[in-house]
């Protein structure tokens, strides 16, 4: 099996499985006062310290959650509500339309249900938000802004945003800045203090950790109203019994991602470039979406090293995916939808691509288990798959 969908989820690291298995043999609620409780608490706090050290944060800035969606929801809704409570004029949220649905949909909920307004920040043809775009959006009325949220790197096309610069712009107006760093971790140098964000989302399963374990890094002075209420765990920002084994596994994965980031990023970029080259040999008119990846951004590459988002003119991504799946190659067309009905990606449309171009897309995402033989498998299968997909698209057109 050729697994090239690491941006969806990654194979769990053996060290994570070992640490979690061991942790699951132990009883103890980290909030209990007895011996088992204290032992559980110790495992949680050691994990918190390891994660904080790996991400350039303080332990008290780590808020454990159930993953990326919860962290994004907590950051956006929590900061929005706290800011509105302090000053009811601050109802405007600034975000680009290329955000993950975990950010987009909570914003849309706040607009529909809580009177929020939104200014969608324009992106360039690579899907990047520019600092002057943000500055102009703020300048419309700095007093009515609740928060700014811009993802570190886009999950579909891999383009990296100038997060530090964007955070600076927000801070010149005293505005809180959140970034979803789910895809960035492990491939880009992610340092909370250095990047200047006030809140930052991370999840475990994109870096070889468990699904259902994630965290929000949040500065102590960032106002956040809780979304979950109960036992007042995690600075009372996120109630709920702590998932000790999940947190232990998350810490092992985050540490591994940061420790091996530099050499993994280099080898992923080399494999990715080889994959693009090999596909282009078979399909000369293939196009790469997003930043070409040659540049630098905050000390890292300007494109996620594991991301190859390709457009195959005349094809439908759906049928390509099915044909490659039948050939043992697993990739993605973009973001999945509940009913499984593929809609053209909102990210690609925001970048100015047509619906047809957007539908002709496939995302290959490489990660810690990817090898040269994965690239060979794609090179062998892609030519015939593209031919068939083109025939199918023409067959479809006949009935339109």
């Amino acid at each position: 099996m050729t697994y090239l969908d690491h941006a969806a989820t990654t194979p769990v690291l053996p060290a994570v499985i070992a640490a979690m298995s061991q942790a699951m043999t132990l009883t103890g609620n980290a909030s209990s006062l007895h011996t088992s409780g204290r032992a559980a608490r110790r495992r949680v706090e050691e994990s918190r310290e390891a994660i904080a050290a790996a991400l350039g944060a303080r332990p008290s800035e780590v808020v454990f959650t159930s993953g990326g969606t919860e962290s994004d929801n907590l950051a956006v809704a929590g900061i929005y509500r706290a800011r509105v409570a302090a000053d009811p004029r601050r109802t405007r949220i600034l975000a680009p339309a290329i955000e993950h649905h975990a950010v987009l949909d909570v914003i849309e909920h706040l607009v529909a249900a809580e009177g929020a307004a939104v200014t969608w920040l324009e992106v360039d043809d690579f899907g990047r938000v520019h600092a002057d775009t943000l500055a102009a959006a703020i300048a419309e009325n700095p007093a009515d802004v609740a928060l700014v949220t811009v993802m570190w790197a886009n999950n579909e096309v891999g383009t990296v945003n100038p997060v530090r610069e964007l955070a600076e712009v927000a801070h010149t107006h005293g505005l809180p800045f959140h970034t979803d760093a789910v895809q960035a971790l492990g491939q880009l140098p992610v340092d909370f203090t250095h990047c200047g964000a006030d809140a930052l989302t991370v999840t475990g399963h994109k870096v070889g950790g468990p699904t259902g374990a994630g965290l929000l890094l949040a500065r102590r002075d960032t106002p956040i109203t809780p979304v979950l209420f109960g036992g007042n765990q995690e600075r009372a920002i996120r109630s709920g019994t702590l998932d000790v084994a999940g947190i232990v596994g998350l810490a092992v994965a985050v540490q591994d991602a940061v420790d091996h980031r530099a050499e993994r990023a280099a080898s992923l970029a080399a494999l990715r470039d080889e994959l693009i080259r090999a596909v282009r040999v078979r399909v000369p008119d293939v196009a790469l979406t997003g930043d070409p990846g040659a540049g630098l951004m905050d000390g890292g590459p300007s494109r996620l090293p594991g991301n190859a988002h390709l457009r195959f003119p005349g094809c439908e991504g759906d049928s390509l995916l099915m044909l490659l799946d039948a050939a043992g190659i697993e990739c993605s067309t973009g973001s999945a939808c509940t009913a499984g009905v593929a809609r053209p990606s909102h990210v690609l449309l925001a970048m100015g691509l047509s619906e047809n171009a957007a539908r002709a897309s496939l995302r290959f995402s490489l990660g810690h288990t990817s090898t040269a033989s994965d690239v060979t498998a794609v090179a062998d299968a892609i030519g015939p798959a593209v031919q068939r997909s083109r025939r199918a698209a023409l067959a479809g057109a006949r009935w339109r």
């Binding site: 759906d318 039948a326 499984g340 009905v341 593929a342 068939r388 025939r391 339109r400």
Partner: protein, 368 residues
Amino acid sequence: MSRVLAAMSGGVDSAVAAALAVEAGHEVTGVHMALSRTPGTLRTGSRGCCTVEDAFDARRVCDLLGIPYYVWDLSEDFLDDVVLDFLAEYAAGRTPNPCLRCNEKIKFAALLDRAVALGFDAVATGHYARLIDGTLYRGVDLAKDQSYVLAVLTSEQLAHSMFPLGGLTKPQVREQAARRGFAVAGKPDSYDICFIPDGDTHGYLVDKLGSRPGPVVDVTTGETLAEHDGFFAYTIGQRKGLRLERPAPDGRPRYVLGIEPVTGTVTVGPASGLDVRMVVADRVVFPGGRRPDFPLRVQAQLRAHGGTVGGSADLVDATLRLSPDSPTRGVAPGQTLVLYGGAGLDETAAGPSADQFVIAAGTIVRTG
């Protein structure tokens, strides 16, 4: 072994059809057709196809069969070729059959063409019909027989089709589904039109086509009896819901006898006015690819359920002409006329039987 695409609605029939294709040794892929961009605007609940719940049911069957499962978006084709066609036909005063149109334009056209282009050999569906040497026979379960809604398929379309359920009865299909552990084994049958959520065709048509008032005219006296809000709300043969305040002079019930779309006139009259002694149909297809010698004795079917009559048929200037053995009723332009051949057609009382096969189909243009 061939590569088979099983069209999976999420119902029990297509589930068992897919299972039988797998057990016959084919390499099967399950595909659920998304026919609406906004799932949930089609029929909701457990009654039919095309809801999120149905897509889920189809997926679970594929899980159990261990076959790949995908959802294909055919909503544009469905809107253009089935829904808009349905509305246009009603607006023109005809009575379309959207299920038949869906088979002709979607399942065995858009879906089949795409499947063949992608390397599949055939599309398998849960229809109750049998294909024997390229000839389309009625399903053995005459109560469920669906050869009528497949009769418009060309021989080329049939060559890439599989109907694994043709030799089974509905209870047998349910029993097979239960034996395989399919959760859909007890799922209710669907009867209504899938894109009319509440089954209220009249309300749907008024909503989509708008109110188009016109007179209801007595065929004998020429007198206008009432105003209606849209001729498309009426079907030839309809008796109930005419909203006529004055009874007929002879006290007999009145029926819709004719619909004239240009003036919006609906004519009503006595039951005898419904008797049809000649049916003319065009857009003729011969699904077996074989054109028999006309004239010939046939069993004719005029509706998806029931409406069978013995008669003789002729082919004149590429139109089919049916002379029923006895006057028949409930025949409206737009409906499809399907002619069946088989043994025992000389007996005037012969009804449908499993050894009958489709010899021709056409769209009814007029009756006399």
